[in-house]
């Protein structure tokens, strides 16, 4: 393997090929054992069909040295994904769209005599606002009679979390962070409310599925007793999964932040001034990529996206992320990716040797970050000292637009209502001193008709 090449630790499961990085570019080696299916994907017209429909990531065949010459068939270079995100960082509708995209791809594949050999939610990414399959090697020739080998995986990765989020509690989507191959069906069945038995799709694909797994866990089964799945049956199964997913709904309501913009003590003038300051600072930085940290429903993300900035719009509230995503869908927004992350416990490295899926910070840093009305929540609600906040933001970005909200602000007063004020060092001078250790403060402006101050900072070098 040539120097400067690193094999992606996330692609070891499928022997059809491996992802590797060289010279800042990502490539995929296609192995000889996958030759027939890869050729069929291209020659059948399925590849072009899916790429035209923006369901599959486009790639180019390239004349690049592979990582394992003995197994090498071809090397392809897929289109770059602006930001890799994971299912436990998606809102309900993002996961639902990823599930429906997987089934839509399966339908198209069947038309061309192929089917999906896996159905991992990690194979879907959001590119230009749409759910897209990024694993070009996910297809195999469809053989009538064979069941869908990825049925269980689809149920664990998509149907189980969506059912739990819809029928029990939206926060249960976070179980995907613990179970990297999807939520076990027996656990899903235990957690779902009893009334879910009366939904045909949930009853058969989750409850009965879980019972069947349990029943046959330790039994020796003669495979010849199991009969095949005709094409009609295969199509029927996909239709049933699609209906089960389609019926699952989640309406965000009554959450802390979803009404944030309506409840803050901003006057119209101060809000306009805040927007103006953010806009001016963004023009000064002119970043390619931005993290809007504590984005709420993404109003300021939109401001950045309108300037052509690829924006990852991050919030801790599932309702905010859901509303931000639905808003992006409504407006056909291509430059904003809403994500669900708790900054007090951000996505960690997980999987085999903790290297399969990267932590949020491994996927950064962003060129720039917005931290608007966030510092007081981290400081007062989560007891994070200002010096540690400065370290956190220095790891996240080079340029920082950050708003300081003092104790005199009514939002901070509200946070302090039910607790003792142990935050002696929470003031503007301490904030500037703590951040001044790691950042150069390039500009600061008081926001009109408020107690708040907006800062433009740049991480110190060396």
């Amino acid at each position: 393997m040539s120097e400067g090449t690193s094999v992606q630790p996330s692609s070891f499961r499928d022997p059809s090929g491996r992802l590797f990085e060289r010279g800042g570019f990502l490539y995929r080696q296609v192995n000889n054992r996958y030759r027939d299916d890869f050729d069929l994907l291209l020659e059948s017209g399925l590849y072009s069909d899916l790429v035209d429909r923006e369901l599959l990531i486009p790639h180019q065949e390239v004349d690049v040295e592979g990582i394992d010459p003995e197994k090498l068939y071809k090397v392809i270079q897929p289109e770059e994904v602006p930001f890799i995100s994971y299912p436990y960082e998606w809102s309900f509708s993002q996961l639902k769209d990823a599930a429906l995209t997987t089934l839509a791809i399966q339908d198209r594949a069947l038309e061309f005599g192929m089917c999906l050999k896996d159905a991992s939610a990690y194979n879907i990414q959001f590119i230009r606002g749409r759910a897209v399959l990024i694993d070009t090697l996910s297809f195999e020739r469809y053989v009538e009679g064979e069941p869908w080998v990825a049925y269980r995986q689809f149920c664990q990765h998509f149907l189980a979390p969506l059912a739990l989020m819809s029928r029990k509690d939206v926060r249960l989507g976070q179980l995907l962070r613990i179970y990297i191959d999807g939520i076990p069906l027996d656990l899903t069945s235990e957690l779902l409310p009893f009334r879910s038995h009366f939904s045909f799709g949930l009853m058969v694909h989750l409850h009965l599925h879980a019972r069947s797994e349990k029943h046959y866990e330790v039994k020796q089964v003669d495979a010849s007793e199991i009969r095949g799945v005709s094409r009609n049956s295969f199509v029927g199964l996909m239709g049933s999964l699609r209906r089960a997913i389609g019926k699952l709904k989640w309406e965000p309501s009554g959450t802390e932040w979803a009404e944030y913009y309506d409840e803050t003590n901003y006057s119209g003038a101060s809000f306009e001034h805040k927007k103006e300051l953010v806009s001016t600072y963004l023009d000064r930085i002119n970043p390619r990529s931005l993290w809007d940290m504590g984005a709420n429903r993404g109003l300021f993300s939109r401001l950045a996206a309108e300037k052509g900035v690829m924006t990852t719009s991050i919030d801790v509230d599932p309702a905010c992320v859901e509303l931000a995503y639905l808003d992006c869908i409504d407006r056909g927004e291509e430059r904003i990716l809403p994500l669900l992350v708790d900054f007090t416990n951000p996505s960690p490295d997980i999987g085999w040797q903790n290297r399969e899926r990267d932590s949020l910070f491994e996927r950064g840093p962003a060129q720039a970050a917005l931290a608007l009305a966030l510092v007081h929540h981290l400081a007062i609600s989560n007891n994070v000292p200002l010096a540690m906040q400065a370290e956190f933001f220095a790891a996240a970005c080079e340029h920082l637009v950050i708003e300081f909200v003092p104790k005199s602000d009514s939002q901070v007063q509200r946070l302090l209502l039910s607790r003792e004020d142990v935050f002696d060092e929470y003031d503007r001078e301490s904030f500037e001193a703590a951040f001044g250790e790691l950042f150069d403060i390039e500009d600061s402006q008081d926001i009109t008709e408020s107690q708040r101050t907006m800062y433009l900072m740049r991480r110190k070098t060396g």
Binding site: D107, V149, Y216
Partner: protein
């Protein structure tokens, strides 16, 4: 509510399709219990698909005007 699971009985009743392969291709383990419930469900759902297709053909046959050429209805996708 305890539901006794008798997949083999279902298989005996509904297992009409042919050609089960003993060893499945692919790099992920499909799980025996998962395969069995899939085959049972697929048989039921496949029968529903077939019924819908034939029902639409029957409806089409009776609703056709005498001079209309015999156009086959499009097969439903679900």
């Amino acid at each position: 509510m305890k539901i006794r699971f008798h997949a083999k009985r279902f298989l005996t009743v509904f297992g009409a399709a042919r050609g089960m392969t003993a060893v499945f291709t692919g790099y992920i383990g499909p799980g025996t219990g998962s395969l069995i419930i899939q085959v049972v469900l697929a048989s039921l759902l496949g029968a529903a698909v077939a019924t819908r297709v034939y029902w639409s053909k029957i409806k089409h046959f009776f609703s056709r005007k005498p001079d209309e050429p015999g156009i086959e209805p499009e097969e439903e996708n679900e």
